[in-house]
């Protein structure tokens, strides 16, 4: 209770700091003076274009996407009471990728701009609904297994649609796209996903009381007046909306949703509702930090963000499994 506000303060400061650092980091070195001056000067200078049109939207997108992944992870872990739950594990991310792949390669994107985020959202919704339906009533283990099964199915469907795609390079392109990246995103992408992320995050956050009550298990939560089916539905829609839209713009970015809540939990006394805001901040900090790292670490082409988060996240996952093995009977 005492450390909660402190955690939020520290994370906010860290986020602001990283945001500024991200404006100075790129494969092209811009003198700090030029970066700062670009905010005062017109938009025609090269430095101004690089800062305003490339680095700024990229940083904003990192914050938005990181925050939605963090909240989604916290909400899913709270709801399933399973510390391994995260959007990627429940098929949200692969579902969104499937939707985006279909939209991209069958030409819907050229018809109207919202096609890809909407398709991503629909894909996420369909995959998540299937996961929740398969895992219904079977406890959180069944839910995770259902997520694994659905992820397998959607991955197969992605391969199938690439197989059928009219573009011969589609398989290669989408392989790289699925690795997840914030490179070369623009303000258009920011405007495209912001409404979905805002709506999704608000929906997820509205289940805070229910998540707290669920600490006592489903029966007691229900006895406390929590409507379980409604809660499940809101979480389903909220995660699919926020993560689905985010994934359709950035590709799949794993482990942020898994890691962020875990980093926060001990600092706020493990209460699910108190994890949400700090987990959003932590998600944003992690993603922004990782994105800066991909720009500064150089081996040939830019390291893909999703690859980087997975490389860092997997050892964490191992650690978590080892820890669970020790604590569970």
């Amino acid at each position: 209770m005492k450390s909660g506000p402190l955690v939020i303060l520290v994370l906010t400061l860290l986020l602001v700091l990283l945001f500024f650092i991200s404006l100075f980091s790129g494969r092209v070195w811009l003198p700090p003076g030029d970066v700062l001056r670009s905010f005062a000067s017109g938009n025609d200078e090269l430095a101004a274009i690089i800062v305003h049109e490339l680095r700024l939207p990229r940083a904003v997108l990192a914050v938005l996407v990181g925050a939605s992944l963090g909240v989604a992870g916290a909400v899913l872990q709270g709801f399933t009471r399973n510390p391994l739950a995260e959007p990627g594990l429940l098929g949200v991310a692969t579902g969104a990728s499937l939707g985006a792949v279909i939209s991209i390669y069958f030409g819907f994107t050229s018809v109207f701009a919202l096609a890809t985020p909407l398709a991503g959202l629909l894909g996420a919704l369909a995959a998540t609904a299937l996961t929740f339906a398969l895992g219904w009533g079977g406890g959180s283990l069944a839910l995770i297994l259902a997520g694994v099964a659905v992820s397998g199915l959607t991955a197969a469907l992605i391969s199938l649609s690439l197989n059928l795609a009219p573009n011969a390079n589609a398989a290669y392109e989408i392989m790289t796209w699925i690795m997840g990246s914030l490179a070369d995103r623009s303000w258009d992408h920011v405007w495209l996903v912001t409404p979905f992320i805002v709506v999704g995050v608000i929906a997820m956050a509205s289940t805070a009381r229910a998540l707290d009550a669920l600490s006592l298990g489903e029966t007691q939560a229900q006895s406390l007046g929590i409507h379980l089916t409604r809660t499940r539905l809101i979480i389903l829609l909220g995660t699919a909306t926020a993560v689905g839209a985010a994934t359709s713009v950035t590709g799949a970015i794993g482990f942020i949703g898994l890691v962020a809540p875990h980093l926060i939990r001990p600092w706020v006394g493990h209460q699910p509702s108190r994890i949400l805001l700090p987990a959003a901040l932590a998600g944003a900090v992690l993603l922004l930090g990782a994105d800066i790292a991909t720009r500064l670490i150089r081996f040939g082409p830019e390291l893909k963000l999703g690859v980087f988060t997975s490389l860092l996240g997997t050892p964490f996952f191992f650690w978590l499994v080892v820890k669970l093995r020790k604590t569970s009977p």
Partner: protein, 257 residues
């Protein structure tokens, strides 16, 4: 005046009536012990009485309105429910665990209201949990956890408490402590309904007995008159000897059944 009434309640599972035409009443001040063999349908009946499970036919009313007419939080404010072996799934502090009992009264968003904090403090004191206030609930002993859960159930001052085997797994001291608290609450005008396997406890502390067998209610009446060796033979298929009444009552099973 709280009145909970079940009429002709039926719950079907896999073509079998696991609660079969049960009708019963309870009111403020009753301490009802529900007894019956394993699988007799006690837990299912308690879930129906608590409004957590909709019966396939029949209905349960609280003060004349069926439970389904109540909004979730409205009902939750009036009755508390404790399932068998309630557990806490995150290592939250005992204080927060108890505060969860106020969930139905909380505003949808915002911080925990100040006057609620006072209620939590009072309940922590009443249940001797002061010393454990900041302890993670997952590290409590069985007895402490049962007490904390009871405190959680009662912090919102409900009119009805329904608990499924609240003393299962507790040592004698904690068992007695829990049952005494429940009787005290009934004395204060609450309606307490619990399922119990310890028949001596049921005989000593409850005011009324409901006995179930194979989904049917086969006895319903004041404890002193209802708890007889004849009933116990019917319910459990064992010979039992019931001696004494009230605080000295004793139920013993014969060796050669």
């Amino acid at each position: 005046m709280t009145r909970l009434e079940a009429s002709s309640v039926v719950v079907r599972r896999n073509g079998r009536n696991i609660v079969d035409l049960v009708s019963a009443k309870g009111q403020a001040g009753d301490f009802i012990a529900l007894i019956g063999a394993n699988g007799a349908g006690k837990s299912t009946l308690l879930s129906v009485l608590a409004g957590l499970l909709k019966p396939d036919s029949g209905q349960v009313t609280l003060d004349g309105r069926t439970l389904t007419e109540y909004r979730g939080t409205e009902l939750a404010k009036r009755r508390a429910f404790l399932p068998q072996n309630p557990r806490c799934e995150w290592p939250i502090s005992v204080e927060r665990l108890v505060a969860l009992g106020l969930t139905p009264s909380l505003p949808a968003i915002g911080t925990f209201p100040e006057d609620f904090r006072a209620k939590v403090n009072a309940t922590l004191t009443a249940f001797d949990l002061e010393a454990h206030r900041d302890q993670p609930a997952t590290t409590l002993s069985g007895g402490e956890l049962a007490r904390a859960m009871l405190a959680r159930a009662l912090v919102g001052d409900p009119h009805i408490l329904i608990a499924d085997e609240p003393v299962a797994g507790l040592d004698p001291r904690h068992t007695l402590d829990t049952v005494r608290r429940l009787r005290h609450l009934a004395g204060e005008g609450k309606l307490i309904i619990i399922s119990l396997h310890d028949l001596t406890l049921a005989a000593r502390f409850s005011t009324r007995i409901l006995a179930m067998k194979a989904g049917r209610l086969i006895a319903d009446g004041p404890t002193a008159e209802t708890m007889t060796s004849g009933l116990l033979r019917d319910v459990f298929d064992v010979d039992a000897c019931v001696s004494g009444t009230g605080d000295t009552a004793l139920v013993d099973f014969s060796a050669g059944s």
